[in-house]
């Protein structure tokens, strides 16, 4: 996997900001952004149950959404 599922940036903080500054903001970049066209017979999850619990039938499109609250707050 050559891409990351989460990307972050640090917004500009002005001294005029009335509220406590947000040092880092992150957003989710799921795999489908990096796969222009889904390849033929790409690998699937072995069982339907696992596909249902993972939210996709295709392993290459699986995204655990690692974006946690604290990741945004740092």
């Amino acid at each position: 996997m050559t891409y990351t599922l989460v990307k972050c940036y640090s917004p500009y903080i002005s001294k005029m900001d009335p509220c406590p500054p947000m040092l880092k903001k992150c957003f989710s970049t799921p795999p489908n952004l990096y796969i222009p066209f889904q390849p033929y017979n790409s690998e699937q999850f072995p069982t339907a149950r696992e596909a249902l619990y993972k939210g996709t039938l295709w392993t290459c499109l699986y995204d655990p959404y690692p974006l946690k609250r604290e990741e945004n707050l740092e």
Partner: protein, 89 residues
């Protein structure tokens, strides 16, 4: 107070199996929309469709109709409005 119909565990197990197969069908439908000539996926789709129908038949024999307007057979008496409804399960 009317008698509350308690659901056996098999209700939930069967329901989850139906959910699993139907999810595979959703994924394959979306995949086949963009890959119409993928024979393996079509075979898998037909297999899953058959399996889904089987599961729904066994479910409906025990717990009553899942769908209406002729999608499911009816028991006697007409009982599709009986509890539990999907959000009450």
């Amino acid at each position: 107070m009317t008698h509350q119909k308690t659901l056996p565990d098999s209700y939930y197990q069967l329901m989850e199996q139906i959910q699993q197969v139907d999810f595979v069908l959703v994924e394959l439908t979306l995949y086949l929309d963009t890959h119409p000539d993928d024979l393996d996926a079509i075979n898998q789709f037909n297999q899953a469709a058959y399996e889904s129908r089987q599961l729904k038949n066994t479910f409906e024999k025990q717990f009553g109709p899942l769908m209406q307007f002729g999608q499911s057979f009816s028991n006697y008496p007409w009982d599709w409005k009986e509890a539990p409804w999907p959000w009450q399960v």
